[in-house]
């Protein structure tokens, strides 16, 4: 990982000092896919698919997010360390949200029992 001016053997983009330029043939289809996915997610929400709905919506959003990250943000052609960073942050955000969610679900009955006692 030691990266300095005498560049490491990184086979990544900048080793030769030239930027990795995104060809239009990648950018435009990515964009088209993003628009299409937006249309899909809106129409999917109009079908009544119940509890699965949020997972479908989140799944589509994640595909979109991945497209943006990989192509618009060049992550695919970047140093893998940067991708690792993002994964890391997602993992820790998930730990945070996950544990707080699990806990609050588990003690929810104590709150609803109280709410039931209160005048509406």
């Amino acid at each position: 990982m030691a990266h300095n001016t005498i560049t490491t053997s990184d086979e990544q983009a900048h080793a030769d000092g030239h930027p990795h330029v995104m060809p239009l043939s990648v950018l435009l289809p990515t964009f088209a896919a993003l628009i299409a996915l937006t249309v899909i997610t809106v129409s999917a929400s109009k079908l009544s698919i119940g509890a699965a709905e949020i997972w479908v919506a989140m799944g589509i959003a994640t595909i979109k997010a991945t497209l943006v990250a990989l192509y618009f943000m060049h992550l695919r052609y970047d140093k893998p360390f940067n991708a690792l960073l993002i994964l890391f942050s997602l993992v820790f955000a998930a730990i945070f949200v996950g544990m707080a969610l699990v806990d609050s679900q588990a003690y929810q009955p104590e709150i609803s029992a109280y709410d039931l006692q209160q005048p509406k």
């Binding site: 003690y107 104590e110 709150i111 029992a113 109280y114």
Partner: protein, 319 residues
């Protein structure tokens, strides 16, 4: 397990007040176990450190012997041994926790209402006291809620504590193994008088609890109103803010104020009569005395009408 009656004043050990609930000894023994383990490691570490400092001190004529700079066996050893020990500690802590958080099926239930800065314990017959009276050697379960901020009910002698959170119920249980009086404290910071949000746990010897409850709940029947009012006045926490000797505390004193005119924060004035007292108890923030902060909690639903009457009689009597 040894059940002791009448030992509430015991000073306990170096680290603890005397254990007085069924779960206390479990906590103490785990504490002592961790303590001895810690003492062992502490002596080991500091002992070695001192020995090394003395033996390998840089001094004239001392020649440093060669030593290696890594040893994987050692590394594994001093990761795995503490690892196993911590698993053991965790496990005992976890078992003890389950015991202290899982009430037995038959419990005597008391409701707790905490507010800044007083306790109200409501017994199954509806009677409310601001000390916690419980029977000896019988599991008691508290169902608790708070009116304002978070408080925490802590009984050191029982080695137990639970936060009381507004907007929900929390609960705890214990089984007293000693009779006598024990301090009960608020352990979650709750503002100005957090450190004075105290009460007593009174563990009544077998059979006497019911008698106490009977008598306490029938104050009004057994005592003249003025005296019942006086008892209510202290028990229900009025005395925390109001004196009867003329000196002002958080709230005004009641000495000789009945029937007088008092000015309010909105500039008007009012006569201190039965109605105003009743209103002050039920809706204290409606009319606030000039010179005082609007901090008195409402007792709506917590004091019954006859009780309020008794308090009024008591205030009347303060000449």
């Amino acid at each position: 397990m040894i059940l002791a009656e009448g030992g509430g004043s015991d000073n306990g050990s170096f680290w603890f007040p005397a254990p007085s609930s069924s779960n206390a000894s479990q906590v103490d023994s785990l504490f002592n176990f961790i303590l001895s383990l810690s003492a062992f490691f502490f002596v080991l570490i500091v002992g070695l450190m001192l020995i090394f400092v003395v033996r390998y001190r840089r001094r004239p004529g001392y020649v440093q012997a060669p030593a290696s700079d890594h040893n994987n066996t050692l590394e594994i050893l001093w990761s795995v041994i503490p690892g196993i020990l911590t698993i053991f500690i965790f496990f005992r802590g976890f078992m003890g926790y389950l015991d202290m958080r899982t009430p037995p099926s038959e419990t005597y239930e008391i409701k707790v209402n905490a507010k800044k800065w007083s306790w109200a314990f409501q017994y199954p017959n509806g009677y409310i006291d601001n000390d916690l009276h419980i029977p000896f050697n019988r599991p008691v379960k508290l169902t608790m809620t708070s009116e304002d901020v978070i408080h925490s009910l802590f009984i050191p002698a029982f080695r137990t504590k639970m936060d009381i959170v507004p907007g929900r119920y929390t609960s705890m249980w214990f089984d007293a193994t000693r009779t006598g009086e024990f301090p009960l404290l608020c352990a979650e910071y709750c503002g100005t008088k957090h450190s004075e949000m105290l009460a007593n746990v009174v563990v009544h010897p077998s059979g006497e609890f019911e008698k106490w409850l009977e008598q306490a709940s029938n104050l009004l029947a057994t005592l003249p109103p003025v005296e019942a009012g006086k008892i209510l006045f202290t028990r229900r926490g009025c005395a925390q803010c109001h004196t009867i000797d003329g000196s002002a505390r958080t709230g005004p004193s009641f000495k000789g104020t009945f029937g007088t005119k008092q000015s309010l924060t909105d500039g008007s004035s009012i006569e201190m009569d039965e109605n105003y007292i009743r209103e002050s108890i039920l809706e204290p923030l409606k009319k606030v005395r000039a010179g005082y902060r609007p901090v008195m909690p409402s007792y709506k639903g917590q004091l019954k009408d006859p009780e309020i009457d008794a308090i009024i009689e008591f205030i009347k009597s303060l000449k």
